[in-house]
């Protein structure tokens, strides 16, 4: 009796996708809020052109997150656009999970080719500097230290962290 061979439909990693969606939401809202609150991020974002669109995507078919600069301010827009001006692409859900959970920093993830870029390289440098500052608000120093090359100096960390978690992330303000 010959064996039957046919198509195989792979499953989905629902749990990791779910975690990624939540982290993308938190990251997007936190960025929106921190871009108003933190002078370092504000200075960087001021250099971005009006209408600039940034997306983070998990390849090949995972969740995504988008940020846009509108009226001089950064806004979290939910799903990221495929043809955004700068797209930061995780090559697979496992790599995304490592970075988003956060077990690995963005520089190391780039170095290990777990993340790829599409678009303007200079803007990506500016975004990474913003991300480093954002991480300093989002995580305690002992975690953040492992994710960034040098711990960013932030003012009033306790007050601002509180603001970010109580108002920034839940209400986007």
């Amino acid at each position: 009796m010959p064996r039957e061979y046919g198509p195989v439909k792979p499953g989905r990693k629902w749990l990791k996708e779910g975690v990624a969606r939540i982290v993308f939401f938190v990251l997007g809202r936190a960025f929106q809020s921190a871009a108003r609150m933190d002078e370092g991020i504000r200075r960087e974002v001021a250099q971005w052109e009006e209408g600039f669109r940034l997306a983070m995507r998990i390849l090949p078919d995972g969740p995504s997150m988008g940020l846009t600069k509108r009226d001089g301010r950064i806004r979290y827009v939910g799903e990221g656009s495929v043809d955004a001006d700068l797209v930061i692409r995780f090559k697979n859900i496992e790599s995304a999970f490592l970075v988003l959970t956060p077990q690995m920093g963005s520089a190391r993830a780039f170095a290990e080719n777990r993340i790829g870029l599409v678009g303007d390289v200079a803007r990506s440098m500016s975004f990474v500097r913003c991300l480093d500052r954002l991480l300093a608000y989002m995580y305690p120093a002992f975690i953040c230290n492992r994710l960034v090359k040098r711990m960013p100096q932030i003012k009033r960390p306790f007050r601002r962290r509180l603001y970010l978690y109580v108002l920034g992330i839940p209400f986007g303000i």
């Binding site: 190391r108 780039f110 170095a111 790829g116 303007d120 390289v121 200079a122 990506s124 040098r150």
Partner: protein, 393 residues
């Protein structure tokens, strides 16, 4: 130090040796091409090198579609557009770049345009925006420094908006690189020195950077050993074929190393200094290399110290305690700089290269936005960059 994962991609066929240029028609025919466009610059023509390339086609039965020999020192969008028109008008089917960084980058830019049905160069700017594969591209370097024959990058100036557009894609990798020492025999000592320092900085930054991996390390250390030994010989006697071939190989290996491990702050500063003050890239590399290594000591002293073996040889390496190797390397590098200044007139300081004090701020601002900084081990912000530039001034 082994990364938990890495990628190494180098699909370029590398052919190295005396008179290997005569393989050019064969290599083109292997890719189904029979009507190449040769892209080069006036300097290459005046050095008599295009004659050597043309004679390689004798008895081949092929037709050279056209020879575009007017590429400016900094390749520009206008030049790329003009050459793409020449390519189409003459029904060419492949490209041969003969020259240093500018003709090679220009050829990569032309390849983007002639391989895509529509769009302008700007539409493909940035990382990974190209769909491939592109038309066959053969590169014949006439300097030993850029490593462009094995890299996935092209930088082309948009003179109207005064910006340098970077293109990064695996599809930009040439198909074949022909390293023939005949093509570098006429290079003056100063250019030999500056391009040699460019190659050395590629190798050293690839070794030090966050993306280093066992394969890039092997290419980097082999390149450093060759440069240390043969660069002084090529400066002493430009006609030394062995030295020229060794440097061509070193430059190519250093290119493969940094194409897979990235460069770092030395290049970020060098690109910025080039953009603001128009100082030649190799000159900038020669100036910034020891400063960049010293800056990274805080994070990677052990790794930098290991470079003493390929750069100084086994005897000096073995006689130097491990804690002192990094400092010894930097001291020897400064000595090497002095040697190149004395024998070839290569500047050691920014002011000697024509940079003005009031330009340092603009260089710092450009440097911190340069993509090369991403893989540099130590963080460099605006204040750090200003401090380092003041030291190098």
């Amino acid at each position: 130090m082994l990364p938990s994962s890495f990628e190494f991609h180098n699909p370029v066929k590398i052919i190295s040796g005396y008179k290997v240029l005569d393989n050019l028609p064969y290599e083109l025919s292997q890719m189904g091409a029979e009507r190449p466009l040769i892209i080069t610059d006036r300097g290459v023509v005046e050095a008599g090198l295009v004659r050597i390339v043309r004679s390689a086609f004798d008895s081949s039965g092929m037709t050279i579609g056209a020879v575009y020999d007017d590429v400016p020192p900094d390749s520009s969008v206008d030049t790329v557009n003009a050459i793409a028109d020449v390519y189409r008008k003459n029904q060419c089917d492949s490209l041969v770049a003969v020259g240093g960084g500018s003709p090679i980058d220009t050829a990569k830019g032309v390849n983007i345009l002639v391989s895509h049905e529509k769009g302008t160069l700007k539409d493909y700017m940035g990382a990974d925006r190209l769909s491939g594969p592109l038309k066959p591209l053969v590169v014949v370097p006439t300097t030993a420094g850029t490593g462009s024959e094995v890299t996935l990058v092209a930088v082309i100036a948009d003179t109207r908006d005064n910006v340098k557009m970077a293109f990064v894609s695996r599809h930009l990798m040439p198909d074949v690189a022909l390293l023939d020492p005949r093509m570098t025999l006429t290079m003056p000592a100063k250019i030999t020195a500056s391009t040699g320092m460019d190659a050395l900085s590629h190798a050293m930054e690839a070794w030090v950077g966050l993306q280093k991996n066992p394969l890039s390390d092997a290419h980097a250390t082999a390149a450093i050993t060759l440069i240390r030994h043969y660069l002084p010989l090529a400066i002493a006697d430009g006609k030394d074929r062995t030295a020229r071939l060794a440097l061509a190989n070193a430059s190519c290996m250093a290119g493969a190393a940094f194409s897979n491990s990235m460069v770092g702050m030395v290049h970020a500063l060098g690109h910025a200094a080039g953009a603001v003050c128009h100082i030649p890239h190799g000159v900038a590399m020669g100036i910034f290399l020891p400063h960049g290594l010293r800056y990274n000591l805080l994070k990677r002293a052990d790794i930098i110290g290991e470079l003493l073996l390929p750069f100084a040889g086994a005897d000096i390496y073995a006689a130097t305690p491990s804690a002192q190797r990094a400092d010894r390397l930097i001291a020897l590098l400064v000595e090497f700089q002095r040697f190149l200044k004395e024998k070839a007139g290569l500047p050691m300081r920014l002011k000697d290269a024509g940079v003005r004090d009031d330009q340092l701020g603009a260089i710092a601002l450009k440097a911190i936005n340069d993509g090369a900084l991403m893989m540099n081990p130590a963080e460099m912000d605006m204040d750090d960059a200003r401090r380092l530039l003041a030291e190098a001034f």
